[in-house]
Point group: C2
Chain length 511, copies 2
């Protein structure tokens, strides 16, 4: 076989392996979605075995020495991908990304992969029970096992200055504690005085919309956003989430709490933002491992963009208010429906609170900093599990001036740790920073942006995101996406400007 | 390593492989369930790839020469299982069953397994579209491919006097055309004059129950039957089905058509009968391949037992009628609710009809014989696909005296062929025969049976089925289950006696 023929055969071998991995990942995704939406209680134990087997199968295939050999040979021949890859560079990028994952996989024993998957399943079940009982001690053993196994995995992966770096790498290639810590803490320092100046005491206005009316409003918003119901579904779950099985099968969940219609709407737009990214991933890159998000921070930039930049804007509420009022009236709800101005003020009210997913856009980042610092402690070993609840409460006191009354509104509030997602939280604030950058770029590109949003014309916005973010999949890194879409900008300045013009401005106006 | 140590190691190797196969089968089950209940349209293509990959993975593991070697060695050492196995014989039965499956697997190329799985997925999608359009030609290419691949597979498996024997073996070990053909045709000959004498012309009485009321009635019946909602779920689908992922996670579907409440109730009890078998499979046999039904005919005996023996009995309607009336009244439905006698007469009305799943208990078997004879033609090669619709219509004219007006009430009515389930249909009539035998045995064991049913006390019946059928899993063959539970009986005579005492008696009473 000549050189070109051998290379072709190796490329086909690699593409076959990566296509199978994509298929296995999609199946694992369905198992996880079903676990949180449809699975009866009695299915929990075997679901753990199913997820663990799928995790082992994926790991074995990724760590396969034959795949590694083909990847090494191809990497030698194709060289590193260019700094600004195009579709002509798919093979080189595919090989570079897959080789990076292969090198990481071979360092982790398959038994540890299976044990972690089982521990995640047990952790999720323990978390649900502990939340119900508001009792952290019911979750502590499962969490300890998850942290221990994750630390073992991080040690096996090695490579970073901090044990936490290996976890960050799971979500965002190249992210490090050394880079993140000053960024997040610096942002926190700039936010603290703003929050203190703007904070509005006491509960916000009470809004109410019956659940069926709220569901219909969600449907209208999803349609305006360009959500494709033929290529996805919307369900209810305790903790809203999104999951892409394939660009043609993207599943998002929400809830419809009649006493928190704005929170539910935010949640729906957040998950739909993730879902639109997944529906927009490039089918032409199927079977290369590149039909995937560039990273979780960029993923969160999409959800936070729709939730906050669009979903908390004055223009959006101008479009939404009459639709809200129509659903309000059709449902025979008591009292007048809120005005656009009232909705805008309520959605942008700055007030420290205990629950991250209900936080306003400004204080949200303080919740992230709390989790980031606690995770650093868990993974450096400085913070033992038994000290976590008190450390959580103390951090909330220090950063937000509030103390949880019980664990379910404190350390048990998030699904991430019980699912083994350590290192994920920084993605949210990174996503907020990027979303602010996208806002600035989009406003420059489309002067009519806010006029369009005010008429509910969100398709040009989606088209811009498709063009500048979604269509690249993982062919471009997050940084390459940002370089092209936004250019060199100070994202902290962009985020502060965005926040100063929203909730902080609204607070000043009310003060 | 001494002899015992080597045997122990081989047993552990085999159990590990069989446990992984069970896990993979459960995952495939979830993929299929989701496809028919939850999956958005855009997920169809990738779902085909997912199911095909899972089928290939299962096949490769089953055909694995290392597994085969261990099984051969163990079979030599343990010898064949006894004619009446007990729990002490688990290893011998496990090895014998797995070796049989292994021998079949090695004869079929993995590529054919994958191609068949893809063809089933494409077939299901083509069938849904063709049904909608009432156009067989839209389904014909997919069906031809399914039949061609299935014939190729049957030829690779070989071993039977008729090509169809290899298909029967998929569902019921040891079943052959030579044995089934005289049984089914003989039954048909005995039924034909009875149907002619009893047949009631024209449509039956019109019953109506609003969908939410019907759903609540279903829930009451499921509860009385002993269905465990913590270990299963009930959903809606076009074609009701049941699927056991694990005894703790059993999923059944039904529909709630307000204009066919009796048909929907039958369907629900049918699927719940399957589901109760799955929920009753022995957890202690996990990881042996024996925590499974003994065969599909026995599976159908459970569904048909609940649907017909219990669900069409006078006693059952005595219990049901007041509950029906209460739901009827609560829903504000017009007119009086039907009496127990009217429900019994309607449920046992003998009248040839076009749709199998709506057929009365007597003519149902004629529907099965039509399909069985057409399948024999398809697999012997005597019946080409393009001649199938006309052959179907002619067979209905001959056996039932009716001719479908279009393909959706004719050759397109069943989900089986588009799912590649050739050889399945005889299981229904075999199940009817066994259910009649169980009825006779249960009446002998519990003289209070019908008094209990009349009070809605169905738990003793479930307990008897658990004890005599479910708990054995696949440790006993179907014949061994029947030998123990029923003893030597003429099941054709039992079925005819059962039918003569039901619909045929009801018809005589009305005539």
């Amino acid at each position: 076989m000549d050189h070109g023929g051998a290379q072709q055969a190796q490329l086909e071998q690699v593409r076959g392996a990566l296509a199978a991995l994509e298929t296995l990942e999609g199946i694992s995704g369905l198992l996880e979605w079903d676990q949180q939406t449809m699975m009866p209680a009695g299915g929990g134990e075997v679901r753990g075995a199913q997820l663990a087997l799928m995790a082992r199968l994926q790991h074995e295939r990724l760590a396969d020495p034959a795949l590694g050999g083909a990847l090494e040979a191809l990497a030698d021949q194709l060289g590193p991908p260019p700094a600004a890859p195009s579709m002509a560079d798919v093979d080189a990028v595919m090989v570079a990304r897959a080789l990076h994952k292969h090198h990481r996989a071979v360092r982790v024993p398959t038994a540890l992969v299976g044990a972690l998957a089982e521990a995640k399943n047990a952790g999720f079940r323990a978390w649900v029970a502990a939340r119900e009982a508001r009792d952290f001690s019911m979750f502590a053993p499962a969490l300890r096992r998850l942290v221990d196994l994750s630390r073992e995995r991080a040690a096996a992966l090695g490579g970073g200055a901090h044990p936490y770096d290996a976890l960050l790498e799971d979500f965002d290639a190249g992210a490090t504690v050394a880079q993140l810590q000053p960024l997040l803490v610096g942002l926190g320092d700039q936010l603290a005085p703003r929050v203190a100046a703007a904070a509005q005491a006491g509960p916000g206005p009470r809004l109410h919309l019956p659940a069926p009316a709220l569901a219909r409003l969600h449907a209208q918003v999803l349609e305006a956003m360009g959500w494709d119901g033929e290529r996805g579904r919307l369900d209810q779950s305790i903790h809203p989430f999104s999951l892409g099985i394939h660009p043609g099968d993207v599943r998002i969940t929400t809830h419809t709490d009649p006493d928190d219609p704005l929170g539910c709407l935010s949640s729906t737009m957040h998950e739909a933002g993730h879902g639109l990214y997944e529906q927009g991933l490039p089918l032409r890159l199927s079977g290369t491992g590149l039909r995937a998000a560039a990273g979780t921070a960029l993923h969160e930039s999409q959800s936070r963009f729709w939730e906050n930049v669009i979903g908390r804007s004055e223009a959006f509420f101008e479009w939404l208010a009459p639709r809200w009022a129509a659903e309000h009236a059709a449902a025979g709800a008591p009292g007048p429906a809120p005005s656009a101005a009232a909705l805008y003020a309520a959605a942008n009210r700055v007030s420290p609170s205990l629950i991250r997913v209900h936080a306003d856009e400004t204080t949200y980042n303080l919740h992230i900093i709390v989790r980031f610092e606690l995770e650093l402690g868990l993974f450096s070993g400085a913070l033992p599990i038994e000290a976590l609840p008190e450390a959580w409460d103390a951090a909330y006191q220090a950063r937000l001036g509030l103390r949880p009354a019980h664990a379910t509104e404190g350390v048990l509030q998030d699904v991430h740790w019980c699912s083994g997602y350590f290192g994920y939280f920084p993605s949210y604030t990174l996503g907020n920073l990027m979303a602010a950058g996208f806002r600035a770029a989009l406003e420059a590109a489309r002067p009519a942006l806010w006029a369009e949003v005010g008429r509910g014309e969100l398709q040009p916005t989606l088209a811009w995101l498709r063009e500048n973010v979604h269509q690249h999949g993982n062919l471009l890194t997050t940084q390459q996406v940002l370089d092209r879409a936004i250019g060199p900008r100070d994202l902290v300045a962009d985020l502060l400007a965005h926040l100063d013009g929203r909730g902080l401005a609204a607070a000043r106006a009310q003060a």
